[in-house]
Subunit: 147 residues, 2 copies
C-alpha cells in the first residue's frame, strides 16, 4: 500500500535543516514540481503533485503528477512513452517546492508540443517571444493533443 | 511608467506557438518562476511573480518577485546584495510558468540559509533527506532571517 501521508514539520529549523521529508502542500493539496534533465540540468517541464502522486513517484521512481485539468493522477508518459525516470528528487529550504532530476524515455520529449522541453521560448524585453528550440521529436498531433 | 498590463492570449495556437508574450496568471494573480544559474542551469530558487514584479523584471533586468508572506514586491537581493541579473526569461508551452536564467551578484547565494541554491537537499525513497550542498556563502543570521 502506498503511504500517502507525510509528516508535518515541527519547527522552522526542522523544515530548513532537518533530515525528515515533511513537504508542505498548498491549500489545494498541491506542491509545485520542476522536472529537469538529470545530466544537463536543462529545465524540462513544470507541474503540480498531490500527496498521492508524490508518494507514487518516490515509490516507483517514475514521475507522477497531478493533472489539474483532468483532476486526476497523471503518470507522465503513460500514453506517449515519454516516461520520466527520476534519478533524484530535491526539495527547497521551505520544503514547499520539488525539483525532479529525470531521464526521459521514449523519444525524449517532455512537452506535449513534441519538444524536449516546455521552455522553448524566450521572453524579450519588448515582450515578444522568440522560439529558441524548435526541434520536434514527435509530431504532437500523432501522439496526443492535450497534456 | 511600467506597464503592468499583459495581453490575453486569443487561442491555444497563439499561446503555444505565438510570438506575443501573454502570460497566464492564476486566480491570485501570480505566476510561478524558477530561477536557474545562467551558466550551469542549476536550479537556484522558486518564487512567484505578480504582474508588477514581472513587468519590472523585464524592464530592469533584475529579478523581482512577489512575496506572499509580506504581500509586497520583492526585489531579490535588495537587502543582501544577492541581486539576480536576468540573462534570459523563458516561458513554457502554456505561458503559465517562467524560468529565469540569472547571474547572482554579491556573495552568490540565492537561498536565505546562505547557500547558493535553495535545493540543497535530496529526498530519499525512504523519505529521509540528505543535504547535498552545505556550503554557506554567508552566515544567514548576519544577513537576514526571513526571505
Amino acid at each position: 500500500m502506498t503511504d500517502t501521508q507525510f509528516p508535518s514539520p515541527a519547527s522552522i529549523d526542522d523544515i530548513e535543516e532537518g533530515g525528515v521529508f515533511a513537504p508542505r502542500f498548498d491549500d489545494a493539496g498541491l506542491i509545485p514540481a520542476m522536472a529537469i534533465d538529470a545530466e544537463t540540468n536543462a529545465p524540462l517541464m513544470f507541474a503540480f503533485m498531490n500527496r498521492q502522486s508524490l508518494a507514487i513517484t518516490l515509490e516507483t521512481g517514475l514521475a507522477h503528477y497531478y493533472s489539474r485539468s483532468r483532476k486526476s493522477l497523471w503518470k507522465k508518459g503513460e500514453t506517449s512513452g515519454q516516461l520520466q525516470h527520476v534519478e533524484r528528487v530535491r526539495t527547497d529550504c521551505d520544503q514547499d517546492v520539488l525539483v525532479l532530476e529525470v531521464r526521459v524515455a521514449g523519444d525524449g520529449a517532455a512537452c506535449h508540443t513534441g519538444r524536449a522541453t516546455c521552455f522553448y521560448r524566450q521572453v524579450n524585453s519588448d515582450r515578444s517571444l522568440t522560439t529558441i528550440d524548435n526541434v520536434r521529436k514527435i509530431d504532437p498531433d500523432a501522439s496526443y493533443t492535450q497534456k
